[in-house]
Amino acid sequence: MDDNKENSPTVENIAAKLKNFKSLITHVRDVEDEAEVVARSLSEQYVYPETYQLEASLASNLKHLQEILSDSYDFHFREFIIAALNRQAAVVFIEGMSNQELINRQIIGKLLLPSATGQGDKPDNEVFGYLKNALLAVASLSMEDVMGEAVKRVLAGDTLLLIDGVTGIIVIESRKMEARAISEPETETNIRGSRDGFVESIQTNITLLRRRLKNPNLITKKVTIGVRSETDFAVVYFRGIAHPRLAYEVEQRLRKIKIDVPNGIGVIQGLMEDHPYSPFPTLLATERPDKVVAGLVEGKVAIMMDGIPFILLAPATLSDFFQTSDDYNEKWVVASIIRLSRYVSAVFAMATPAIFVAITTFNPGLLPMLLTVTVANTRLGIPFPAFIEALVMIILLEILQEAGVRLPKTIGPAVSIVGGLVVGEATVRAGLVSAPMVIVIAFTAIASFNIANYRLNLIVRLFRIPLMLLGATLGMFGVMMGFLVMIAHLSMLESFGVPYLTPMIQKNSQQLSDIKDTFVVAPPSFMDERPQYLTPEDAKRQEK
């Protein structure tokens, strides 16, 4: 009975069968999609160009290149006959990375011309020499015997010339990439220094250095990092000044990095640093060529990365983060005061909220009586403890600062005004935050803007809250503890073997002279020696 009922063509049964049928169709589509994915994955296997062998046949080599570069629409090749040799040939290049005018005029144009001497074909081993000496009007070309290398070169913007019968590929330098023009560095502006900053092209950046250091002893060593990206890096140092062991160490650490794709200089920095888990940076990133040049002639080593306008200087000590190019363009007295103000600002930016919380919560005795009474009066009616008050204001400040950085330049100042003035004023009027707290936080923010280096600024901001927490739980004792631990931590740090607190802390009396460019800027006539802590090969910088 039941079977009959199930098979009977009732409306419910038909609906159920239709539903099953729809589900089946959906499944079939899924299966079809899956099959497509499997088919694609089989045809799009990860390619290892080095596994391909170069052959004498042009067709085979072109086929291999097509397999390697598969569907990439920017990959182009053009077949033609070299008139002078009467041989089939092809040029291969990547559109947008190569100089097409050079390819058209100096490569294809020249190769299509018939031989002036009327000579015929050459033996295979003489073809490269003949093209180099008689036909190709290009500055730099070479012969590659390995497919992997040839692919790397074409992906870098060079042009490959494949000739039938020749077991090798002629690589012609023809790189021409669109690049941002040299402009003023945005994160390190100055008043009297040079206005040029590094750009994304490593070659342009090297040129910016060479323009300032016209000396054959400026060494640039190429290192390729990135198993998949083959990103170009350069280790730059001044031979005869930089300690050879330092230059060697920088290069070795760079070569040891086995990363898939280095996404930014920060990743490389993290992999090279002596203390990657410390929040303090032990390599100085800058986009100012004058700063890098100054570092190089002091005996430091620079690390450049293609595609990034920031260059790392090694080793970097804490005092390096307080220096700016302008320090050396002002009179030494003025520059010294400005630099000292940066150190003071860093301490204020880090500790003022914590000290205020500690004093109002635990140690009002540290303030003069009148001030204590004034502060206490303003805090009357505030519902929150000083720590919460400060915490809320700091979080607000951080949000405003981050918003100011990320927003378009036209909107950034508006956000600051709304946040700083309107919200600040409103919170005080509403009795949520005391006026002294607003003053403290505003002062903290201004002090942090005086820190020359953005990364150091971030660290200072980072330490505000833990210090405040210590101030809120243990008073001034806690704040002092925080500072002691921080000093211990800073003393522990090293950058390529150089203690992070050098030259503030000296190893011996010889290093005493390094103090002249630490807290203050000595007159130029005193700057006759390079920093001793870098153990430069040539310690003398100028004759007195």
Binding site: F362, P368, V498, L501
Partner: protein, 367 residues
């Protein structure tokens, strides 16, 4: 990793700085009362004699170290006095260092509790300070040395603050100028173990110092001289400001003297609170040094690769003794014990060890 710096070594001058910075701690604050009870207004004379006496002890340690260059006390003790006696002497040495840490901890935490109106229980302050000391001591010697070189800057700042007491100086308080109670002055010298602690660290630190043109005796001597001069001037100004009678009646005379300082026409008040905060980094140095010396001494004695395992080992003991010593009676016992063991170690054990070392070396040379 490349290292352009030689780690774990210091110059003779750095050794001098280390020992100098270890001498001045918050321990001197309560001790001043006891010294003045005995020495009266001749605190300065007592401090001068103590400086001479304790430097002679440090000099004996340097002489002992010269007999065993590149070796710490833990390494040559078994050879010098045998394994059992060596262990006992080494234990006394460790005890001297531990007591320095304990005394420093008690002094600084009590100071904070009393003068900064801190509501935090003293035990919490002790444990936080101990953890901060441990964090630093767990590092290698190069790091510790750098920390000392930074924190030593608090010393002139502290002394600068203290010098404001000159404002209240009255010469009459120093009279009579000629001492008539020599026994009291000498008794006061003994209490100066609180004024000159930590030089025993030389027994472990000497091998870490590079031998150069300048002798250790000279650099350490300069350190002692500097600190002694500071104590002499400090003693004169303290008695001159608040009189010997007042000093002997208050628990923390230096802070008391500071309380009475007023700089008219300025905004600044209650300078004693600021001075108290400066005592923390100064005392931290001594604690850190003693703790490192314990770890390094144990490492060498037990032939370990690293000093770090020994650092947390002593934490419960230090904390327990500090927390337990919370009544005046217990503090008195601890003070007497630390004075006794300090003097016994410096003026009985060290000379004996030196004589033994000379005798043994003499025998070897004769052979």
């Amino acid at each position: 990793m490349a290292n352009l710096e030689a780690k774990g070594k210091m110059s003779p001058w750095q050794l001098g700085i280390v020992i100098t910075s270890a001498l001045l701690t918050a321990r001197l604050l309560p001790a001043t009362t006891y010294i003045v009870i005995s020495s009266e207004q001749f605190l300065w004379l007592s401090s001068a004699l103590a400086g001479l006496l304790f430097y002679s002890a440090a000099y004996l340690i340097i002489l002992l170290g010269q007999q065993f260059p590149n070796e710490t006390i833990g390494e040559y003790l078994p050879r010098l006095v045998g394994k059992k006696f060596g262990a006992v002497v080494f234990l006394i040495f460790i005890t001297v260092q531990l007591i320095n840490i304990i005394n420093c901890l008690i002094a600084i935490t009590t100071l904070y509790s009393i003068f900064l109106f801190d509501q935090t229980p003293r035990a919490v302050l002790i444990i936080v300070l101990l953890l901060a000391v441990i964090y630093c001591t767990m590092q290698e010697w190069g790091t510790i040395l750098r920390v000392i070189q930074i924190l030593v800057l608090a010393l002139p700042m502290l002394y600068g603050f203290y010098s404001l007491i000159w404002i209240n100086f009255e010469t009459l308080n120093l009279l009579p100028l000629w001492p008539d109670n020599f026994s009291g002055i000498l008794q006061g010298v003994a209490y100066h173990t609180e004024y000159y602690p930590g030089y025993e660290s030389l027994l472990v630190l000497l091998p870490l110092a590079a031998r150069g043109k300048v002798s250790f005796a000279r650099t350490v001597g300069w350190g002692f001289l500097l600190v002694t001069i500071m104590y002499i001037i400090g003693g004169i100004v303290l008695i001159g400001a608040i009189s010997a009678k007042t000093v002997s009646n208050v628990s923390y005379p230096v802070v008391f003297a500071m309380k009475s300082v007023e700089i008219p026409g300025t905004f600044i008040e209650r300078l004693e609170d600021h001075m108290v905060t400066l005592f923390l980094p100064v005392t931290y140095i001594s604690m850190m040094l003693s703790y490192y010396v314990i770890g390094e001494g144990c490492r060498k004695y037990l032939n370990y690769n690293d000093h770090r395992p020994f650092i947390p080992l002593f934490l419960p003991l230090i904390f327990f003794v500090c927390a337990f010593t919370n009544t005046p009676d217990r503090l008195e016992v601890l003070r007497n014990f630390s004075m006794f063991i300090g003097l016994f170690f410096s003026f009985v054990i060290i000379p004996l060890l030196l004589i033994l070392a000379w005798r043994k070396k003499g025998n070897i040379e004769q052979c």
